[in-house]
């Protein structure tokens, strides 16, 4: 008679068991669930230990005493020399200013020139230029007069070449207009005169220059690139002024990247710059649907931008230009009719004429998927009568640059449904949502798509029913064509 076979515990067996327990694959909603939770979870601040606080206090005291001595010493030295001008009169100009693209023979072309104003001199340069186009000492004679004296620049102004400029700043100090009164160096006058926009002190990660909180007026995008095709992304060069927009008081630029421009009411922006619930967004390089072989297409969906244009034209109050290959930029006006607060009524309403089409996308990146949701389109969150969107062609660029060639992008077919086609205005979740619910609502469409796919493939009617219920729930995006 034989007993049971002895059970030998081996490393391989333990490993096999653990691999089996661990399973494969990540729940599809795990990452989005974590993201939704961290959106509503504040971080704890780093505490300072008592011993460290004592050391810091001692160091601060020593530093203060040393600074006092240094200030007394420097003050005594400065008093021996006459001050050339009163720097306080030009203090409002100190900082970084962004201007329209420039091209200077022998120095290069910059799509994003930057004017850096210091206390006693200013420098004009930019990516693509081999040196400073303008570098001059500055002095402020009157509140609105700027005196320049060339030092060393790349355009060959004679050292000491003098100039007189007049400048004005907007009420909020964000827009600077410079005009030449007299300049011995005409190239400098051509480069410097014009309108400049004050760059924000801090930008989102990965972006060096941007605008942030705006005043009422017309502004331009800093990094948005509307003309580069997918195939040319590697050659991307941030272009100032690709899009011109006009806002009432109380708006901020939450994101200005190569592919997206988000405008948010300042209150929303301060609360959460990533908030999309009430944002007005513009997306670049959007594919309405797949053009790859094997991807089903809807014959009614136009492929080219000019043929897609009529769709937003149908929106009440929208003015859409006829885009052409020679057009370098577009403009979008957000006039404040009756109200300049930028506030919107609570509740969710659908923009009449909003289009929702089932499409199939061909790409794998998250960014591309987001970008495809609306091509060159404006996304807005409510149908307030105080804010309307219009698009019209603009030739605001001072020096139009040649267009890059457009090429088609080969893409892998990816099965998904987009709720919005190109050129559509979209309504996002209601204003009264809690941040967490808003985050969940933001992710809901993608989850619903997966549920629907799963339900279809496995033949689970309850999943399809749940999907339909969620689609009918207030706060979710309305669906058409099911």
């Amino acid at each position: 008679m034989t007993g049971p076979m002895p059970f030998e515990l081996t490393d391989a067996l333990i490993e096999r068991m653990l691999v089996q327990r661990a399973g494969t694959g990540l729940p599809f909603d795990l990452v989005s669930g974590i993201a939704a939770r961290i959106d509503v979870t504040p971080q704890r601040t780093r505490g300072v230990s008592a011993s460290r606080a004592r050391v810091l206090l001692l160091a601060a005291t020593i530093a203060l005493v040393a600074l006092g001595f240094a200030a007394a010493l420097i003050g005594g030295l400065l008093n021996q020399k006459p001050a050339p001008t009163d720097p306080s009169s030009g203090a409002s100009l100190v900082g970084l200013w962004l201007g329209d693209p420039i091209a200077v023979v022998g120095v290069g072309t910059s799509h994003q020139p930057v004017l850096n104003v210091f206390d006693s001199d200013l420098v004009l340069g930019g990516t693509g230029l081999t040196g400073a186009v303008v570098h001059s000492f500055t002095a402020f004679e009157e509140p609105d007069t700027l005196l320049l004296s060339a030092t060393d620049d790349a355009i060959g102004c004679a050292p000491g070449a003098a100039a007189t400029y007049r400048y004005t700043t907007s009420a909020g100090g964000l827009i600077l207009t410079i005009s030449a009164v007299q300049d011995a160096c005409p190239v400098r006058a051509a480069a410097l005169a014009g309108t400049w926009y004050r760059a924000a002190a801090t930008c989102e990660s990965g972006t060096a220059l941007c605008l942030r909180e705006l005043e009422a007026g017309t502004f331009k995008s800093v990094n948005l690139d509307l003309r580069t095709t997918h195939a040319e992304i590697g050659t991307y060069d941030p272009t100032f002024g690709a899009l011109t927009y006009t806002v009432p008081d109380g708006w901020a630029v939450s994101r200005d990247s190569r592919t997206q421009l988000w405008l948010n009411p300042i209150a929303e922006h301060v609360k959460n710059p990533e908030a999309r619930e009430r944002s007005l967004s513009v997306f670049a390089r959007v594919a309405a649907y797949s053009q790859a072989d094997g991807c089903p297409t809807k014959p009614s969906t136009p492929r080219s931008t000019p043929r897609r244009t009529p769709s937003p034209r149908g929106l009440p109050g929208a003015r859409v230009s006829t885009p052409g290959r020679s057009m370098r930029s577009r403009s979008m006006a957000i006039p404040a009719a009756g109200s300049t607060s930028g506030s919107r009524p609570a509740g969710r309403a659908r923009v009449p004429g909003q289009m929702e089409r089932h499409t199939r996308h061909c790409s794998s990146s998250k960014t591309a998927r987001r970008a495809r949701m609306a091509s060159g389109s404006a996304r807005r969150s409510a149908t307030s009568s105080s804010i309307s969107t219009a698009a019209s062609s603009s030739s605001a660029s001072r020096r139009p640059l040649p267009l890059r060639s457009r090429t088609s992008l080969p893409r892998r077919c990816r099965s998904s449904r987009a709720s919005n086609s190109a050129e559509a205005l979209e309504v996002t979740p209601p204003l009264g949502l809690e941040p967490r619910a808003a985050a969940a609502a933001r992710m809901r469409p993608r989850r619903r798509v997966r549920q629907r796919r799963r339900g279809r493939s496995r033949g689970r009617p309850e999943v399809r029913r749940r999907s339909r219920e969620s689609a009918a729930r207030p706060g979710t995006r309305p669906r058409r064509g099911r």
């Binding site: 515990l9 490393d11 653990l18 974590i34 939770r37 704890r44 930057v114 850096n116 060096a208």
Partner: protein, 223 residues
């Protein structure tokens, strides 16, 4: 006459602030290499940058860290807990705790080990809660060591082993998972569990012995 070469003037340009201090050529980096291999094959320096940004409140950086490491974390949690929904909860709890406490993390290079420790603690909490809720009842038939059909004939070895594994406490499960599933070196396990290396070795052998005992209790014949 040739134009004199001009040196580019960069005073106009404001570069994005680097997240880490640049290291001069030939200079040894001040930071130590992480004890644990960076998650998702992410370069250590890139991960440190993401952790720094996340510690300053950048949710998108943290989301990127989550995207890169969630798969591995979820596998660990699922192996320890043996249940998908519990593993999902534990993983979510661990990441939310990590996000909340990240500003207090002193050494960004040890993020992996720190996160692993939080995850194991979350699994421990989950197991503790589960014990309060229900008890696992054993099939009395399996506890009888009588001659009969071979165990291999009734249940697979891994199923039996998995049930035995469920009898272990959280610490033993964690150390076995980190060693056998993740193939992490002892030093990395020590960092993740915040215990000395010698203790890891001892606990590993203890956990294995406990698993053998649990197997016997599950009805497996002695080897």
């Amino acid at each position: 006459m040739t134009q004199p070469e001009r040196r580019p003037n960069h005073r106009w340009r404001r570069e994005p602030k680097p997240s880490v201090e640049p290291i001069a050529p030939g200079e040894t980096p001040a930071v130590m290499e992480p004890a644990v291999v960076a998650v998702g094959a992410l370069p250590a320096s890139r991960q440190v940058q993401l952790v720094m940004r996340a510690a300053r409140g950048d949710a998108s950086a943290f989301e990127e860290l989550v995207t890169l490491s969630a798969d591995r974390a979820f596998r660990i949690a699922r192996a320890i807990l043996g249940d998908e929904s519990d593993a999902r909860d534990a993983t979510q709890d661990a990441y939310v705790s990590a996000w909340r406490e990240l500003p207090r993390l002193r050494s960004y290079e040890t993020f992996d080990a720190w996160l692993r420790r939080i995850l194991v603690n979350a699994c421990r909490e989950k197991l503790r809660g589960r014990r309060r809720i229900r008890e696992i009842r054993l099939d009395p038939a399996l506890d009888q060591r009588i001659a009969g059909p071979s165990i291999a004939e009734t249940v697979s070895d891994t199923d039996l082993l998995s049930r035995a594994f469920d009898r272990l406490d959280a610490d033993k499960r964690a150390i076995l998972v980190l060693h056998y599933l993740n193939h992490e070196p002892v030093a990395a396990i020590a960092a993740a569990l915040d215990i000395p290396v010698g203790t890891v070795k001892w606990r590993l052998s203890d956990a294995r012995a406990a698993l053998q005992r649990a197997l016997t209790a599950e009805g497996a014949p002695r080897s």
